[in-house]
């Protein structure tokens, strides 16, 4: 069988390429893509379920202040995520009892410095964009 087929060559000349010119154009993210996390500070109660669900121990509860509960002073804790350890499986989102943590469609989270991979509660609660 000959691989020289003039008709196919002509067809290919006018076909769109398979690839995209990446930094200038990109595929739109799909609904439900598991990207960077978004934390809802109002819903989060600081329970440790997300940190227990994380397979890579990327989530750590950090103290952000104190609050008063039933006349007692208790520590206020929120999750802090190390995105360098995170495998983006989405178990934290799935097992969160208050629906406070969500995976966004943000995939462009490359960094030049390791320390920027740690997302504090403040940074996590900032909307993507």
């Amino acid at each position: 069988m000959s691989i020289f087929r003039p008709a196919a060559i002509m067809r290919n000349l006018f076909k769109k390429p398979m690839t995209l010119q990446f930094p200038y154009e990109a595929l739109p993210p799909v609904e439900g893509y598991r990207g960077r996390h978004l934390l809802d500070l109002e819903k989060c109660t600081g329970c440790p379920v997300c940190s227990l669900a994380c397979p890579n121990k990327a989530i750590e509860l950090v103290k952000v202040g104190e609050e008063e509960k039933e006349g007692k002073k208790v520590e206020k804790k929120y999750p802090q995520i190390h995105l360098g350890k995170c495998c983006f499986c989405g178990l934290c989102e799935e097992y969160c009892p208050r629906d406070a943590i969500h995976m966004t469609q943000e995939a462009m989270i490359s960094i030049m410095d390791k320390s920027q991979a740690i997302y504090s509660p403040d940074k996590l609660s900032q909307p993507v964009g």
């Binding site: 799909v30 609904e31 227990l52």
Partner: protein, 379 residues
Amino acid sequence: MERTRDILAKDELEEREISFTTIPFGPQHPASGHFHASVKCVGEEVVELTPYPGYLHRGFERLMEYRNHAQNTMLCDRICVLDPFSNEMGYVNVVEKASGIEAPQRGKFIRTIMAELGRILSHITWIGIISMALGLDSGTRIAWGDREKIIRLNELATGGRIYPCYFIPGGVRRDFPEGFKEEILKVLDYIENQMKLYDNLVFYNTTFTMRLENVGILRAEDAVALGITGPNLRASGIATDVRKDEPYDAYPYVDFKVVFKGKGDAYSRALCRRGEIIESISIVRQLLEKIPEGDFRVKWGLTKKVPSGEAYFCCEAARGELCFHMVSDGTERPYRVKVRGPSFSHTLAGFPHLAKGVYIADIPAIYWSLDPCPADMDR
């Protein structure tokens, strides 16, 4: 053709002080993957091939002992990156078997559809890799471009491209999104159409057939003795398939042929995989017609305990039989998990056996005709 192996035995070569040349194959060879083998040869012919595994050892079996069953499905993806769904399928089924729960029917259908799409994904990737190993570069580009279509389906259904993390004991983590059925059918039509191109470009191309025909012939009795499974065994004339012999999940509801060839050479193995892509497309279409409505999972808690005991489950991955043996001590974590991956015996037993007495140039062709996965081999 007379080969060195036929003329002289290895000891005789040593006695006559014939000098050997030792050539390293991999791990930097473009056609080796993360795998190293030392090839001992006389002139152009290989006398002995010694594999050295371990470049991709990540200790999954040990890591699984530290994580609970929901978390372990994330690790199973990484056992074989090119075929993640089969690994998840094996693990969730073994946990379900040990804990005595059963996934709802819709969950089982979804799992089977995704596993079959994973098989197509893996085989299309293989077309790309073997084309690269044989110097047919356009085959590589086109196949890896088509792979993207199925990866996009993964992304739509699961939210992850390469690591779907989709199955969980008791079903799947999400239901199919709206309009997903049509998306799958569109991609299947596209791949079916592309198969004509692959036939011209790869499978019935003279360059391809001349490199693979009568190379690396694996006889049926040798294949059984060496523990070869899957398409490689079926290419040697033994029509065995776990999906047919012990149907699991939604396989009892579909009608499909077990693709097998008789000759056992590298070309038969290639044709077996080609046939499997076509069969898988037909399986997915049948399942999409029959998929029931209803629940897709039963709830699996993070700290759900599995009663003490052990379970064993075998499934058909893209590369062959994939088996999980799990021992539970009554906690939420497995006491021990043993994975029997298909590539282990293919690469460490099958490859050295086939490489004896062939030309050096045939080594990449034989290696990739077995479709090994170094990640699965080293685990």
